[in-house]
Amino acid sequence: MVAIEVPKVNYTDYSNRQLAAVPLAFLVLALAIIGGWVVATGAPANLGLEFTGGVELRIADEANGDVEQQIQTAFDRQPDSVRTIPGDDVVVVTFQAAEDDPEGLANDLQDQADAAGLTTTAVDQVSPSFASDTARTALFGVGLAFLGMSVLVFALFRTFVPSVAVVASAFSDLVIPIAAMNLLGIQMTLGTIAALLMIIGYSVDSDILLNDSVLRRTGEFYESVSRAMRTGVTMTLTSIAAMVVMAIVASLFGIGLLRDIGIILSVGLCADLMNTYLMNVSLLRWYKFEGVAR
């Protein structure tokens, strides 16, 4: 039987700079991608329906001919995206909000779908001004959560460098999934906001574990790190397993909310593995061997 053995990393082979270089490179790259997105599209990510406004229709695929073909001709405006959900026999059609006439768009579209003989199983409509309100609220929420987490971490450890290490790694854990979302073409939705908040909560766990092991327990530095790592990697891997399964199954069934949460958390937790055991460890080692001595 295959067993999972958490590998022992020989940290002594690498300098702090070398260790921190990889996660920092990722962080810089992610920030560059997000910056590029802001320059190119005016927003840090591909905003979904909830943040731009528009209408989303779910149309049943009743297997009587080519539904996608029918959809192309059914509406008098061009859909912005048409996605087929394999597991559920439905097609999700999205329309961005119309600048000229937001009035009754959802009704019109539903009528057009009915007229073309398509069965609508769900309709979502978000108006543009409501959407921009939601975006502001979401940004505020993520900011507030991050701030609260930072304050709590500082209160728990009461030392500057280790606390900063946790906060910095949590920041990177947030930024990398956002950049990954942009590259994978995943839209920012309420579900991904929830996932980002969840990352703040989740990713700090392994950092706290590491800090606790190094700072609050007796024992030699590398021993403490490897002890924390054995537990921490197991933890993160089980979470990743749950999230990957959730993402795969949910995307088969076309449940966008669960899929988005699954993907974002998987990416975020992978980023967390890197950040915790490269960046965080190097910062802690510097603190332990050089920072304290100063």
Binding site: V2, M198, V204
Partner: protein, 530 residues
């Protein structure tokens, strides 16, 4: 005898919580509140007492602000609301007195006609001579409350069980009305919200051997003003004073055509003295005597029939009545008069819901909801399997891994019990919360197991306890960060994400307070040498 209880109280607490959840999930009396005319078993969805939200049961959610503007801190100078409303309304071309309201308790004046712009309203307030602090979009608290009760009334009347209406405030301070109706499509719900209870006046008249009815001699739109219900000065009865419009875009005005119909059906001849009565029988729909009658029809049902005051009939015969257009709709009961007044004036909401402008609506068909329910169950089960698989691969020791998985499942079970107990409807977001709880829950159990088993065998209880306490510091810290991170979602109005946050936080709390300590005890019993 108390010793074993004291030693194992953590495990016992977990057992109690699990039993409690079972009662909440399956016991009678914890099920969903049945709607009027529905039995408790009909209200139940599936074998458990769990309730499903719109995502998982199908239905429609509409969230929209009420259109209008409100001037705040208005110096009303002791004027009555009516005077204020009239003064402001005359300064607005596109609004009538009905569209303007003054609320002295809030020192506010509002306009609810959607076509009035903010600058028009400001100009009208200035012109009417009322000083005000500021003008904001939206309506007054009173109008929001009224709108909510009208919507609630509509939902109840339509017999939609589980329908709810509430006010939510966004981060920018704007108020939204949130309406949720399970099992109904988007269009049906919007129609219900926008539809007025129809009130009309028919005339019943003798026709040969039977009774004929001329329908819709007056319809809702024909009324210019609708007063509030009042008690009759003489006798029992109550009435609603109304004014029929004497203006028309083309052709005859409603007041004139009503007057003509009344004269044509012979009211002036039939009602000569106060003793002439209407003999309409609401049961059979026949007129007992030969007098024509006015019928008050609400939502297609005749609620009252009445004759006509001789003076009024006379003024109609002379053709002078239409100039003023005043008359009274009389009823037997005061409450009936109130309903009619409300239906005539409203049935429509006191202020319009701005659904397409600034609102959101979403709707899921019942079959789609049912699919989602099955799918999320599959997703949940598979995620648990994934976690269990990882745990087994890592520990390869059933003594450690099995209790871990059982404990994590107990946590989810307890959460489901809570959901049933609180009557909180399960939605996709809540399911995501459950999965997140399984994830964090197992994380913490891993911490406990590793901590306890590190540094060699656990030989004594004291060693175990000290290691367990150390592990618990990390768990507590991790739980606190999760709670802090999720709490903004709980209070911010971000759609259904508050359900996700509430259940993640609840799960973390149950975990830290009940299940994780219990796992510690279980592990101790299994590992320590007794």
């Amino acid at each position: 005898m108390l010793e074993p209880i004291k030693k194992n109280w953590r495990i016992l607490l977990l057992v109690v919580v699990v039993l409690g959840s079972t009662v909440a999930l399956f016991g009678p009396g914890f099920g969903p509140e049945p709607a009027p005319g529905e039995s408790a078993s009909e209200a139940q969805q599936g074998v458990t007492n769990l309730q499903y939200g719109l995502d998982l049961a199908g239905g429609t959610r509409v969230r929209a602000p009420l259109s209008g503007y409100t001037a705040t801190d208005v110096a009303l100078g002791g004027d009555t609301p009516g005077t204020v409303a009239e003064a402001v309304a005359t300064e607005l071309d596109n609004a009538s007195t009905r569209d303007v309201g003054a609320v002295p308790e809030e020192s506010a004046v509002e306009v609810t006609e959607p076509s009035v712009t903010e600058s028009q309203f400001r100009a009208a307030m200035d012109a009417a001579g009322y000083e005000y602090g500021d003008v904001r979009s939206g309506v007054t608290q009173r109008t929001r409350d009224e709108t909510m009760s009208v919507i609630q009334g509509k939902i109840n009347e339509a017999g939609l069980s589980g329908g709810s209406v509430q006010q939510v405030q966004s981060i920018t301070g704007e108020y939204f009305i949130l309406v949720e109706v399970p099992g109904e499509g988007r269009q049906e719900v919007i129609d219900l919200l926008e539809e007025r209870g129809t009130v009309r006046i028919d005339i019943a008249y003798p026709d040969g051997n039977g009774t004929a009815v001329q329908e819709g001699t007056l319809i809702q739109d024909d009324f210019e003003e609708i007063g509030t219900a009042a008690q009759s000065d003489q006798g029992t009865g109550a009435y609603v004073p109304v004014t029929v419009r004497n203006t028309a875009e083309d052709g005859q005005s409603p007041a004139h055509s009503f007057q003509d119909a009344v004269v044509q059906r012979g009211f002036p001849d039939a009602y000569q003295t106060q003793t002439d009565r209407c003999g309409y029988d609401e049961e059979t729909g026949e007129i007992g005597n030969s007098n024509p009658c006015l019928l008050l029809v609400v939502d297609g049902e005749v609620v009252n029939s009445f004759g006509m005051d001789p003076g009024l009939a006379d003024s109609m015969a002379q053709g002078s009545w239409a100039e003023t257009g005043n008359f009274r709709l009389t009823t037997g009961e005061f409450t009936e008069a109130q309903t009619i007044s409300l239906n005539l004036r409203a049935g429509a909401l006191p202020a319009d819901l701005d659904i397409s402008g600034e609102g959101t609506s979403s709707s899921i068909s019942a079959s789609q909801g049912e699919n989602f329910r099955t799918y999320s169950l599959i997703i949940g089960v598979l995620s648990v399997f994934a976690v269990a698989g990882m745990v087994f691969l890592r520990y390869r020791e059933p003594r450690v891994a099995l209790p871990m998985i059982v404990t994590a499942l107990a946590e989810v079970y307890a959460l489901l019990g809570f959901a049933a107990l609180l009557g909180y409807p399960l939605e996709l977001a809540v399911i995501a919360g459950f999965i997140a709880v399984v994830g964090t829950g197992v994380d913490d159990l891993v911490i406990i197991a590793d901590q306890v088993m590190s540094e060699g065998d656990v030989s004594s209880r004291t060693v175990f306890d000290s290691r367990f306490r150390q592990a618990f510091w990390v768990i507590g810290a991790a739980a606190a960060t999760t709670i802090i991170a999720m709490s903004p979602l709980m209070v911010l109005s971000l759609g259904d994400l508050s359900g996700f946050a509430i259940f993640t936080i609840l799960g973390v709390l149950i975990g830290v307070l009940v299940t994780r300590p219990a796992y510690g005890d279980i592990l101790r019993r299994l590992l320590t040498v007794r």
